[in-house]
């Protein structure tokens, strides 16, 4: 891996993305300050705040089927959201520098269509598009799609690689100088190459319908943590969206990803590692901790705690007391009680055992246990503490920055931008103005057409 020099004069620069919280229990919708999850004004507010905070990008997830539990639509957290690309295109016209990243599924979309959509966003935003590539093998989601539900789990990344390869062929089909547009000679475009792809998943022939976009290719984000997922990310991605929480775990993950990138013929520095994190600020450390605890118990109400346990136990626990101990019986291992979300544990019986021990040792109720085990990495403290801790992570190469996940929509980022960003700037670890106009320039990742052909041409 590439060893990074840390110098006091020029600390490593922190990259920040802003996530619009989607359908999960992140958003404290019970809070009276919580606004609409779908109105454009909410998206615009968060995006403008992120741009005011000079962040690299705004990040939007997607959903393709409403989650279900025990055969009914999950009704306890935020439900429903708008179309990712449409929102990003609307945000493009009310912002000027902010990168616009969207999760789009490579299983339920076609390569030619995705190539055109992302090239369009990149053109209309002047080079600010990013695609978080995800895959699905989920027949449940597939029920909303005409060609859905056909993909074996093992083939997810086979298809994703092929979709990406075909998309890249479309993005590359117009040469840098193909758009001539000379009224005198009458040549509008020339030198456009045909895409002619024959692969195991599909055969595609066609011509890219758009000139090369400002970034060449949109920035590619990737989030899978399996071995396949890591390898996919190290080959294709410009940035990795990870959940590795602690400093040490982050350092291990980052080192692994950078060395995988190098094995794939890239520079380790060309891959940006960005954990998704929550944050809670307070005027004093104690106030911040108290506030964080309140948020967690708002996110995990009694009904949410039961719903979560049902996902692990695989059985109806509607009669279980959330304020009492964990269920005494063992989980049902073959059940699919929850659909539309990943079952979070491979061995539920073992998980249940571990949790019972943990709860007993701390005297936790079922609900308290859920609060503990579902907490994501949090930076909790005064603005100065949070700034220092984030900086420490980046200087120690546990990551390159963070994707901030606020717990309130749409104003959850305001306080961070007002109070933490100036402190990061004082530390010299954060930009005081945008120095480029494209997302690739913000992130410091190379333009795909300046990479060696051998690196670009992945099989």
């Amino acid at each position: 891996m590439t060893r990074r020099e840390t110098s006091r004069e020029t600390p490593r620069q922190i990259h920040l993305g802003a996530h619009f919280p989607g359908v999960n229990n992140t958003t404290v919708w019970r809070d009276p300050r919580s606004g609409s999850q779908v109105d454009f004004s909410s998206f615009e507010h968060l995006a403008r705040t992120a741009e005011r905070g000079l962040m690299d990008f705004f990040f939007l997830a997607e959903g393709l089927r409403l989650r279900e539990q025990r055969g009914k639509i999950h009704d306890l957290d935020v439900v429903g959201r708008p179309d990712t690309l449409t929102v990003l295109n609307s945000i493009a016209s009310v912002t000027t520098h902010l990168g616009l990243a969207g999760t789009i599924n490579a299983t339920f979309n076609e390569a030619a269509e995705l190539a055109k959509q992302f090239a369009s966003l990149d053109h209309l935003s002047g080079g600010r598009a990013a695609w978080n590539v995800v895959t699905s093998s989920d027949a449940f989601t597939g029920e909303n799609f005409r060609r859905g539900g056909y993909l074996a789990h093992a083939d997810r990344y086979v298809r994703a690689r092929e979709v990406l390869d075909v998309a890249r062929e479309f993005w590359d089909s117009w040469a840098e100088d193909s758009l001539v547009a000379d009224p005198e000679t009458g040549v509008f475009a020339r030198g456009i190459s045909e895409v002619d792809h024959r692969g195991p998943q599909f055969q595609v022939r066609g011509t890219g319908s758009l000139p090369r976009s400002p970034q060449g290719h949109p920035v590619l984000l990737q989030a899978g943590d399996s071995d396949d997922g890591r390898e996919f990310g190290a080959t294709y991605a410009d940035a990795i969206f990870t959940m590795h929480g602690s400093l040490e775990a982050g350092q291990r993950f980052t080192a692994d990803m950078r060395s995988r990138a190098v094995r794939n013929g890239r520079s380790g520095d060309d891959l940006k590692i960005l954990p998704g994190v929550t944050f809670v600020l307070g005027d004093t450390p104690g106030q911040a901790r108290e506030h964080a605890r309140e948020i967690r118990f708002q996110q995990v109400g009694p009904a949410q705690a039961i719903a979560f346990l049902e996902q692990v136990w695989g059985r109806d626990l509607s009669d279980h007391d959330p304020e009492g101990p964990l269920p005494a019986q063992d989980p049902e291992t073959t059940s699919t009680i929850a659909q539309g979300r990943t079952r979070m544990t491979k061995d539920p019986v073992e998980t249940a055992r571990t949790w019972r021990d943990l709860a007993a040792a701390h005297g936790w109720s079922s609900r308290e246990l859920v609060v503990e085990v579902t907490g994501r990495q949090q930076f909790v403290g005064t603005p100065a503490q949070v700034a220092e801790e984030m900086d420490t992570y980046v200087q120690a190469d546990a990551c390159d920055g963070f994707i901030l996940v606020p717990s309130l929509t749409p104003a959850g980022l305001d306080e961070f931008v007002e109070k933490v960003v100036p402190l990061l700037q004082e530390r010299g670890s954060y930009r005081t103005g945008y120095t480029g106009s494209t997302l690739r320039e913000h992130l410091g990742v190379p333009h795909p057409h300046r990479l060696a052909p051998a690196v670009r041409a992945t099989a």
Binding site: W29, R30, V38, D39, F40, E44, L64, R65, L66, I73, D75, L76, D77, V78, V79, G80, R81, P82, D83, L85, T86, V87, N89, S90, S93, V94, F108, N109, E110, A112, E113, K116, Q117, S120, H123, L124, S125, G126, E143, N144, F145, R146, W174, L179, A181, P183, G186, V187, F188, A189, R190, I192, Q203, V204, G206, T207, S209, L210, P211, A303
Partner: protein, 369 residues
Amino acid sequence: MSREPLRLGVELDAAGRHPAAWRLPGARPAELFTAAHWRRLGALVERADLDLLVVPDSFRLGSSDERDQRGRLDAVAIAAHLAPLTRRVGLVPVVTTTHTEPFHTNKAVATLDFTSLGRAGWQVEVSTTAEEADTFGRTGTAPPGELWREAADTVEVVRRLWDSWEDDAVVRDVASGRFVDRDKLHYVDFEGERFSVRGPSITPRSPQGQPLVVVPVRDEHSLAVAAAHADVARIEAGDERTAAQTADRLRTLAGRELTVLLDVEVLLRQTATEALDVAGRLDELNPGAAPRSVRHLGTPATLAAALAELPDGLDGAVLAPLDLPATLELVVSGVVPALTRPPVAGSTLRERFGLPRPTSRYARIGGVR
């Protein structure tokens, strides 16, 4: 029926509908793929308070002639970009039904309705070429009748998905811990000839409930789909009288009222001679661009007069400028002021077309609350 007020939309295709339009002075062809180009056009349309801004689309690059203006940005992307920058005009992207998933179309148009605060529409089109099928790795293309039947199924399932959340489904009930009332979310369970969709939509019900559905009428197949599903039909015809006859047939077949607009390809200049000259020059530069509908080459005054004399049964027109922005500028400065159009009440596209906001079909048949 009465033709008051006259409805007027424009279809904006890059440098104009004529494939040589990019070579005219003022076309700025190097900027066709930039936001700046679309912002300029959007601002003109908004100033004229036109009813519809239609953005065409297809997955075809078009001819292999290097002289042709080629390539197109995604139409929903353009409409979405213009949504926060405009306040009045209806934004109507073309979304084709042959290769795009209906579920994606549902949420894209519903979301455009959110970002435009209730001004979204959708123009239905089919992809008939082998070139497009190849782009999607499909073998061959189905006959037009089949493609339009699939389009009809797509409109049906998209409309069901738009209704699949009742208006008051989001309850945010702190006492029970429920964000939504799931009894107000509905599976659509559509089973068609070529696809099925379970639902509900991922996107809550949009400001208009049902965005405006526009269907082009150019043959028997598309006429049948317009009769069954359209809020607005766009008639392609060689002359006004034929168009009026088609409009009659359409209304008879539909058995209901719907807005019928005539497609008019236009090229305007200050004098009719100049307009004819420019059109002649375009055809010289690129012969073979046959008119797809009535064509009007003239001045703002001649077009305004022609629009005022549309036969009964035609509620207005969708103008397709052969060249941009020159013709659009004259539509804004010369044509619209010459037409006496009453001010439009309301801010949504349905209100503009005098259409009520429909109740979700599932709420009406429901009653199991």
